[in-house]
């Protein structure tokens, strides 16, 4: 895999993120995923899909955690991350096949 680095180090343009104490606290407390880790998934190779009103991402953090993120992209492009968990084994295989 290409070198992983957050903050756009992968050469990918990052969106603006909408974090407040609600979604940040909740993500860390309920799912043990930090805001930085969620953002790293956007900077690193990933694959994204739409499910109804919600958006899903299979991504990877700089530390190698393979995560499924649930997020929203507002009309102005701002991204708000709501939820996350570790990928299942099958999702990891999908990630490895499709992540760009």
């Amino acid at each position: 895999m290409a070198s992983r680095r957050g903050g756009g180090g992968h050469g990918r343009l990052l969106p603006e993120f909408d974090w407040d104490e609600n979604n940040e606290d909740r993500l860390l407390r309920n799912h043990n995923v930090s805001a930085a880790e969620a953002e790293q998934c956007f900077a690193n190779p990933h694959t994204r899909r739409r499910v109804g009103e919600d958006l899903l991402m299979l991504g990877i953090t700089d530390g190698g955690r393979m995560l499924l993120l649930v997020y929203e992209q507002k009309p102005n492009g701002v991204v708000r991350v709501y939820s996350a968990r570790e990928q299942t084994d099958q999702e990891r295989r999908t990630y490895r096949r499709l992540a760009r």
Binding site: G6, G7, L13, L14, P15, E16, F17, W19, D20, E21, E24, D25, R26, L28, N30, N32, S34, A35, A36, E37, E39, F42, T47, R48, R49, R50, V51, D54, L55, L56, M57, L58, L68, V70, Q73, N76, G77, V79, Y82, S83, A84, R85, T88, Q90, E91, R93, T94, L98
Partner: protein
């Protein structure tokens, strides 16, 4: 806490149908400046404003400098004063994107929310600043004397 619709999406293994799901919209790149919005007890915000008045600085700038100082010092804050109080007011602080990225990275290392880390650095620095400025014994409603301000002599009567 109740599980919402988005949490319910985590229950499913998405590998099977991933490729037939529609693509998510393209990401839009971010601006160069960023902002952090902290919820604070009203009293804490009043104390920040008082310290800023005493230093003749905008309170946003003073709070921003405390966050940057906290990042430079590298030590996690040890105070938690005010965290349990109702967070009635908001403080919006504009930061350089790289400062915000550093704050998030430090919070990630400490496994703490970066909003809380920033607030605790501000509280800790404020406590030190109040001691330096002699504000720690002064009620918050009392107007501090600005540093460098001339004290007018009392007018003489007849």
């Amino acid at each position: 806490m109740t599980r919402d619709r988005r949490d319910a999406l985590l229950d499913q293994d998405w590998a099977e149908g991933w490729e037939v799901l529609p693509e998510a919209p393209a990401l839009v790149s971010r601006p160069k400046t960023a902002q952090i919005t902290l919820r604070l007890p009203s009293l804490l915000l009043a104390r920040i404003k008082r310290a800023a008045t005493a230093r003749s600085l905008p309170y946003h700038a003073l709070a921003r400098s405390w966050i940057i100082d906290g990042l430079r010092a590298g030590e996690p804050p040890t105070t938690g004063v005010g965290v349990e109080q109702p967070q009635a007011d908001q403080l919006n602080i504009k930061l350089d994107q790289n400062v915000l990225d550093q704050l998030k990275a430090r919070a990630d290392q400490l496994r703490r929310p970066y909003h809380r880390l920033a607030r605790e650095w501000i509280e800790a620095a404020l406590g030190r600043e109040e001691v330096t400025l002699g504000l720690d014994q002064m009620p918050v409603g009392q107007r501090p004397i600005r540093r460098g301000a001339r004290v007018r002599p009392a007018a003489h009567r007849g």
